[in-house]
Amino acid sequence: MTSVADHALELRNITMQFGGVVAVDSLSLHVNQGEIVALIGPNGAGKTTAFNCITGVYKPTNGQVYYQDQLIISSHPQGKMKALYAGQHKDAYKEVLEPTPDRITKLGLARTFQNIRLFKTQTAFENVLIATHLHRTSNLLTATLRLNYAEEKRMRQHALDMLEVVGLADLKDELATSLPYGMQRQLEIARALATKPRLLLLDEPAAGMNPQETDDLGRFIVDIKQRFDLTVFLIEHHMDLVMDISDRIYVIDFGRLIATGSPDEVQDNPDVIAAYLGVDEE
């Protein structure tokens, strides 16, 4: 890389509207190079929707996403949405750039899923191996005729290394879905790492984990961040974990950004407390 971009990821007024419901409303945020940034908020605040907009699963209704200071996603209200649109910055963006998720992953953004999405009929090893497919140089013919055996060997070694990183190398031949819940989450991280990302998006990596496991996970995230020179952007409900490892935190509620800052600042923010605990109505 010749020049280091300031922002690994930047969202500009991302709005996602489903019919009349605005799930994410003009969300602007940025993640600096090498940071661990958390996106938190009460249930249904639009966190996963925001993730899906970044990774191309949803095409945002309006707004732009930059990755390494390069525009990767851009949209504005079109068709029926022109009349329906209830968000802001309606005419701010002219370009339309809506890549499919695989293109986003090829750029170097990898993600995990809130509701685990492993390949059910495959072993742990095969799950990770599939993620090495995007860096192939072989074509259909050379791969079928095994003319790519050197590459195949590299793929297998890389997949094995990633399993080693999450400590599942011994269980590589187990069916992915037969692993305990916590390990399935780790396997998802291994699979995401196998795509050789520079930005890792984790959607509730600690969901369903006990405090001990959550602690381990926190250390693990910091560890892989340093080891693979990653930037991490995560959604999480476990406040202990978020406060522990995050450099900065964004808080959203009803799709709208309500607070941002260091863990300490966010913790004391009255808006955040209100969003989480509710306000007394007198």
Binding site: F113, K120, T121, E126, H133, E174
Partner: protein, 476 residues
């Protein structure tokens, strides 16, 4: 243990060489042997016997093996009791008659020996697996060849083997799409039709064209391609159709895709019967007089190579992505797999092999008519795939042979009225076979939902040394 195995493999090779050598040498000196069969030269006294013997010798001189064997049979049948047929002469006669079979057995034995040798040498450890598969293939093909020589190439068993091999290829091609990529497509009969027609159109002998295309002035195409080129072309044309149809259709999901592909198959059948295309497709008339095969080895060889290619594809990085798409499209896409491209690949490849299968089917039937490629043909193939197990190649292959054998052979008796001791057995009449067949299939689907093999493959290692099952139960 190891030395013993090496010695054994060397021994096998030596036996094989001896067998091949002896068989080859005995093919040469039949003339002497025929004379030796008649030590007292009785023939010189019996003019008819002399004539029969001379016919054998003449046939031998001409080198026409089939005729020669026939003459030899007649000679032995008529004058057998007077000839010295036991001992060495008998053996030599046996070797002569079964020469090709023995040669095949010898070669298979040699391959087994070589494979065993390779698998024991550490330096060649890399070749171990291919060697074992090669040995298995040699045994299979030699076995089929020998059975064909014994049973005769037009026997029921051979018919089943021929059609079974062709259906196996088509079923595997459908399994690639439905079982491995998770695309529920019902267009197989359409692609088979395209393949069958392409093959037939380009291999009809030039001088028979006027006769075949009698209503269309001898047709447009006025040349014939070599068989193998035409088969590959059949696949390519089917693949091209798949590419075009895939562009809009592959964006659909599950049931919609099935409906769209089924519609395509019906439309293509109508188009090929369209009178305006008569100079090419012969309208709704039969296509015939194209090159066919007479040995079962041909469909076995073509289907074998194609299935091997599909298996290798499935085990490659592309095959793994197909399975990923089947398991979870969203996750596959998030892992950088371009859904449309990979679905298209799978669809086009599947159709290519369906086209090749269609060409083989045309050769097997010796005539082609579009009206035969109905949706029911797709359902037959789908049935084979389901019975064999979605996502199991060996299952599909096994099920094809079972399906063809039972529908063409084993259940045939149900169609014939049968009278035992003056009482007519009830229900047995024309058409009852299909009733029983349907019931068997219903029972199968009800009680054996995942098919014969589930999504597992026949595995040589686990077959030879059964091991304790590891991991979770897949049949959740």
């Amino acid at each position: 243990m190891k030395t013993a195995k090496i010695v054994l493999s060397l021994l096998l090779i030596i036996i094989a060489i001896a067998l091949v050598g002896y068989t080859l040498s005995s093919q040469g000196d039949l003339r002497d042997m025929v004379m030796r069969l008649d030590p007292q030269n009785l023939a010189s006294a019996d003019s008819r016997m002399l004539k029969a013997r001379d016919r054998v010798l003449d046939g031998l001189a001409e080198g026409d093996r089939v005729r020669d064997l026939r003459n030899l049979d007649r000679y032995l049948q008529d004058y057998g009791p007077q000839l010295a047929l036991d001992g060495e002469n008998g053996l030599e006669l046996f070797v002569y008659r079964n020469g090709p079979s023995l040669l095949a057995a010898g070669i298979a034995l040699a391959v087994i020996g070589a494979a065993l040798l390779v698998s024991q040498l550490d330096k060649l450890a890399k070749l171990r697996k291919p060697a074992i598969y090669l040995a298995l293939a040699a045994v299979l093909y030699a076995g089929v060849y020998i059975v064909e020589n014994i049973a005769g190439s037009s026997s029921m068993l051979m018919t089943v083997l021929k059609k079974g091999a062709i259906y196996a290829l088509i079923a595997v091609s459908m399994n690639l799409l439905n079982g491995f990529t998770g695309l529920f497509s019902l267009g197989q009969a359409g692609f088979m039709l395209v393949g069958a027609y392409t093959y037939a159109i380009f291999t009809i002998a030039t001088d028979s064209r006027a006769q075949v295309y009698q209503y269309y002035d001898g047709g447009l195409v006025q040349f014939a391609l070599p068989t193998l080129v035409a088969i590959v072309l059949a696949g390519l044309v089917a693949a091209f159709f798949a590419f075009l149809i895939g562009l809009p259709v592959l964006r659909l999901k599950s049931d919609y895709l099935a409906i769209a592909t089924l519609g395509f198959a019906e439309i293509i059948r109508a188009i090929f019967q369209y009178d305006g295309l008569g100079p090419i497709t012969n309208g709704s008339n039969l296509l015939r007089k194209f090159t066919t095969f007479d040995t079962v080895l041909f469909p076995f060889a073509v289907a074998g190579v194609c299935i091997a290619l599909i298996v290798m594809l499935i085990h490659s990085t592309y095959g793994r992505s197909f399975k990923a798409i089947r398991d979870d499209e969203v996750a596959a896409e998030a892992m950088g797999i371009n859904l449309f491209r990979h679905k298209q690949m799978s669809f086009v490849i599947s159709s290519f092999f369906a086209g090749v299968g269609g060409a083989l089917l045309a050769m097997y039937q010796t005539t082609v008519q579009a009206s035969a490629f109905k949706a029911s043909m797709t359902y037959e193939i789908l049935l084979i795939v389901v019975i064999g197990g979605m996502g199991s190649i060996t299952g599909s292959v096994l099920a094809s042979f079972l399906f063809v054998a039972s529908s063409e052979w084993w259940l045939r008796f149900l169609d014939n009225e049968l009278v035992i001791g003056g009482v007519q057995v009830p229900l047995l009449r024309s058409g009852f076979r299909m009733v029983v067949f349907s019931v068997v299939i219903m029972l199968m689907v009800l009680f054996y939902r995942r098919g014969i093999m589930g999504d597992k493959e026949f595995n040589l290692k686990s077959f030879l040394q059964p091991r304790v099952r590891k991991g979770g139960d897949v049949r959740g």
